[in-house]
Amino acid sequence: MKALVIIPAFNEEENIVKTVNSLINIKISNVKLDYIIINDGSNDNTLDVIKKNKLKFIDLPFNLGIGGAVQTGYKYALYKNYDIAIQFDGDGQHNPSYIESLIKELNNGCDLVIGSRYIENNDTFKSTKYRRMGKNILSFLIKIFTSAKITDPTSGFRACNKKIIKKFADNYPSDYPEPDTLVSILKDKYIVKEISVEMNERAGGTSSITPIKAIYYMIKVSFSIIITAISKREK
């Protein structure tokens, strides 16, 4: 089986090499694990760092935002006929040792597996009051519209099978896409499961979400969830 780790990177010159190095040591039986970095029009030295270390990358001609970058990875996975695609942040937040458990759930018949920070109420991931509040609102919205319990709807640590790769390659929202895509997948009756993971604090660089953006994010994502939920199924 071939699996592709999609690493979206926007201005991650400090973290990208560390992230890839932590990945390439992972060995999973019966799975050939590849990775691809999607450089999303970074305006720091990310591209130079990638080239100097001879890492595998796709260089977008300009910044598309996280959704457009991740979708590029799914398209690449589709064209290269990968069986599994794993989304993995370029900033060192995700721990690659969980990739094996994500793939195991896919082999057990799941279509999409999410690495969740909140599943066991372990407080290892320090999260602010507001972040929890936002997350709870999104979980609640998803619960109303799809009756599925998703504890970490914004997690960018996810793995999916071929069916979902095809779906994401065809259609993927442009910014803050995680909760939105979850609703559309759950509506199409695909099997989604969460497993508990621990995430690290950002090793370096700055997070892309500022307070003003956070409020805009909440309004936009909630709106988007509702629209996706009440729209007719595509299939």
Binding site: F57, L60, Y76
Partner: protein
């Protein structure tokens, strides 16, 4: 409506139509979009010249000053145009994203060979 306002409006609109025509001739606006602007200009000229008739309709809607009624129509038309413009921009944005992704993947492919 004062004669001065009528003259100013007609002159401005005519100049605008000439400008749209020049752009159209140099292929700097597509026929589809220039048509919208010619139509809008035409409606505006008609509304200005026939302001007595417009006044009757304005009265019917309870608007006392005819020019206000004309402005109302113009703003309405503009809002509709802007809405369809934002729809067009969204569509173009999707196309640009698609092209950027395909170009990036192709560049990666040619590098591998």
């Amino acid at each position: 409506m004062s004669l001065r306002l009528i003259i100013i409006l007609i002159t401005t609109i005519t100049l605008f139509m000439v400008y749209v025509y020049l752009r159209l001739r140099n292929n700097k606006i597509s026929t589809k979009y220039s048509l919208i602007w010619f139509l809008v200009s035409f409606i505006m000229i008609l509304a200005t010249l026939k302001h007595d008739f417009m006044g009757i309709i304005a009265n019917f809607f309870g608007i006392e000053v005819t020019s206000n009624f004309i402005f109302l129509i113009i703003i309405g038309i503009l809002l509709i145009i802007i809405f369809f413009m934002s729809a067009t921009v969204s569509k173009l944005n999707d196309k640009t994203t698609f092209l950027a992704q395909e170009v990036a993947i192709l560049k990666n492919k040619s590098k591998e060979k």
